[in-house]
Assembly symmetry: C2
DNA sequence: TACAGCGATACCCGGGCGGTATCGATCGGC
DNA sequence: GCCGATCGATACCGCCCGGGTATCGCTGTA
C-alpha cells in the first residue's frame, strides 16, 4: 500500500466517480481504475461496488476511507514538521479562534517569551472547526480550544481556565437588569431569537435567529434588539455601553484547554505547554 | 513522499548504517542511498549527516523518524482494519494483560454478548507495554489499561473501575497480620526485596529483588519468603493459603480504563465501549 | 602508507505507471 | 424498444524509476 494509492482511493471514494476523481487527480481515468483494482487485489478486499452507472463504497471501503484520510493528514504533518525542524530559528504555530480569552493569551505569550530558547510564536487565527484539522495535518503545533464545544479526539490537552457563561442582551431589555438568569429564560424570549452560527460546511442551521459570522456582527445585532447569545464570561467583558452581560446560572462551564497532537515531540511545543500549565 | 521511502528512512535512521539497513530491507545498498537522497531532495532537508565512517541523524531527521514510525503504524492498522471490516462476521480484538480484573472482564464480555449484533470478541493476552502499540497498529481494537501505570497518549479512554492496592506477603510474615500498611514499610523490609519486572526491551532494572515475568511465578516466590509486591486489590483476591494481602494505605489508587485509538470508527468497538461505561 | 570499510556514483535492465484508443454494459429519451 | 450517451474496464504502448552490479572516493586505522 503506497501513499499515492491512498490518495487515489480517497479521491474516488469521495467523488464516487472514476472520471471526476481522475480529473481531480490530474491523471487519466484508466490508470486510476487500475490503481484501485491493484489496491483491492493486494488487500484482497472489495472497496468499491461499481456498475457502469454508479459507484458505491463497501463497508471495508468506508473503513479504509477514514483510515486513509488520517494517514494522508499524518503524512502532510510529517512533511511540514520535518521542514520546520530544519529551520535554524524554530517557529511555533498556535491556532486560536477569535473569542479566545485575550488576557489568558497575552499572559501565555509573555510568559513563554521569557523562557530561554523560546521559539517565535506565530498566531494562526481560524474558525473553531478548523483547529482540529490544523493540528492533525501539521499546519499548527498547538491550539487553544474550548470544552465542551470543541472536539479533542486524538489530541492531548491540559486545562488552563474554567469560567461560567453570560447572556448578552440589549442594555435596555427587561432581562438585562437581572443579576442571574437561566438558559430556558433566555431561549423563551420570542423577540430575541438566538443567533445562528455556520457549521463546518459554512451552512447555517434552520431557525428564526439571524445568521452571524463573528462577535462584532453579533454585538451589533444584539444592540439593535434583534437577537441574543450565550457566551463565555471572558468574551463578554468590556462591552459597548448599549449591551449588558447577565450570568447564566445553569449554562455549562467553559474550559479553555491547550491542545496538541498526542504524538507531538516538538521541543518548543512542550515548552509552551509547560509554561501554559504553570499560569 | 511514499510509504516505501519512509520504511527505508526508518531502517537507516535506526541502524545508522546504510549497509545494515539495506540488508534488513532485503535490497542492495545503492538504491537505498538513492532513495534517501531523493527523499531529502524532495523535502529540501538534510535528514542524515554522513561521512564515510559514520551516519548521524539531524534534528529534522529525528522529527521525521518519529513521524514516520507513527505513519507506518497507521498504515499497518489501516490494512488490518480494512480487511477486518470485509469479513462477514465482525471480530473485535480486546487486548488485556494478565492481572486485569477478572470479574470486570467477565461482566463486560457477558454484557456485550447480550447486545444485538455483537461481534465475536477475541481476547489478546499480552504484556502491559505492548498494548499501546497493538492499538496503534491495528492488531487490537480495544484494550483494558491501568492508570497511572500505562501510557494513554493518542488513545481515548473511559474509566471503568478504581481500586486501592494491596501488598502480597507470606502468610507467616509479621507484617501479614497488619490490617493496613504503608509503602515505606513494605519497601523497608530487607528480607523481602521488591520483585523486578522486565521493561519494554525485556531487560530487568538493577536491584536486589528477584526477576519475575508473571503473577504465578511471583506468588510462588512470595510464598517462599523471597520477595513481596504491591498490586491492585482485585489481583490479590483468592490467594493461595500461604499468602496474605494487606491494603496499602498510601499507594496511589489504580483505575482500570477502556481505551481505543482516538480516530476509531468501528461499530463493534463503539458498542463494546458503550456497554463498558454502563457497567 | 596501505588497506579495510562504507557511502556515492555510473550504468543497465525490467516492471509498472501513465497515456490514448476502444470496448461493453447500463440507463434514459424519443 | 431501440439508439445514444455515459462510464468503468481493457488493450496496448512508451518512458520513468526502482533495483541490480561494478566501481569510485573518502576516511580512519594498523
Amino acid at each position: 500500500m503506497e501513499i499515492r494509492e491512498l490518495r487515489y482511493f480517497v479521491a474516488v471514494a469521495e467523488e464516487l466517480h472514476f472520471g471526476k476523481a481522475a480529473e481531480r487527480l490530474e491523471i487519466a481515468q484508466p490508470p486510476l481504475s487500475r490503481a484501485i483494482a491493484r489496491l483491492e487485489r493486494q488487500l484482497a478486499v472489495t472497496l468499491l461496488e461499481r456498475t457502469s452507472r454508479r459507484v458505491t463504497l463497501t463497508a471495508a471501503g468506508a473503513v479504509l476511507l477514514s483510515e486513509a484520510r488520517s494517514i494522508l493528514s499524518a503524512v502532510a504533518a510529517a512533511e511540514r514538521r520535518t521542514q520546520q525542524a530544519a529551520r535554524s530559528r524554530p517557529r511555533l504555530v498556535l491556532a486560536v479562534k477569535s473569542g479566545t480569552v485575550g488576557e489568558l493569551l497575552a499572559k501565555l505569550l509573555d510568559a513563554y517569551r521569557a523562557e530561554p530558547g523560546a521559539a517565535t510564536v506565530d498566531l494562526l487565527l481560524c474558525e473553531a472547526h478548523q483547529q482540529q484539522e490544523l493540528l492533525q495535518n501539521g499546519q499548527a503545533d498547538v491550539a487553544l480550544l474550548h470544552l465542551p464545544f470543541d472536539s479533542v479526539a486524538g489530541l492531548d490537552t491540559e486545562a488552563l481556565y474554567t469560567e461560567g457563561q453570560v447572556a448578552i442582551l440589549p442594555a435596555s431589555h427587561r432581562l438585562a437588569r437581572r443579576s442571574r438568569i437561566r438558559v430556558a429564560e433566555v431561549a423563551a424570549v420570542p423577540e430575541l431569537p438566538m443567533a445562528r452560527w455556520p457549521d463546518r460546511g459554512g451552512n447555517y442551521p434552520e431557525g428564526p435567529g439571524p445568521e452571524v459570522r463573528n462577535l462584532t456582527q453579533l454585538f451589533q445585532l444584539i444592540a439593535l434588539g434583534l437577537t441574543t447569545v450565550i457566551i463565555p464570561e471572558s468574551a463578554g467583558t468590556d462591552l459597548r455601553p448599549d449591551l449588558a452581560a447577565v450570568p447564566v446560572s445553569d449554562a455549562p462551564p467553559v474550559t479553555t484547554v491547550i491542545a496538541w497532537p498526542s504524538q507531538s515531540r516538538l521541543r518548543a511545543a512542550a515548552d509552551l505547554i509547560r509554561v501554559a500549565t504553570r499560569l
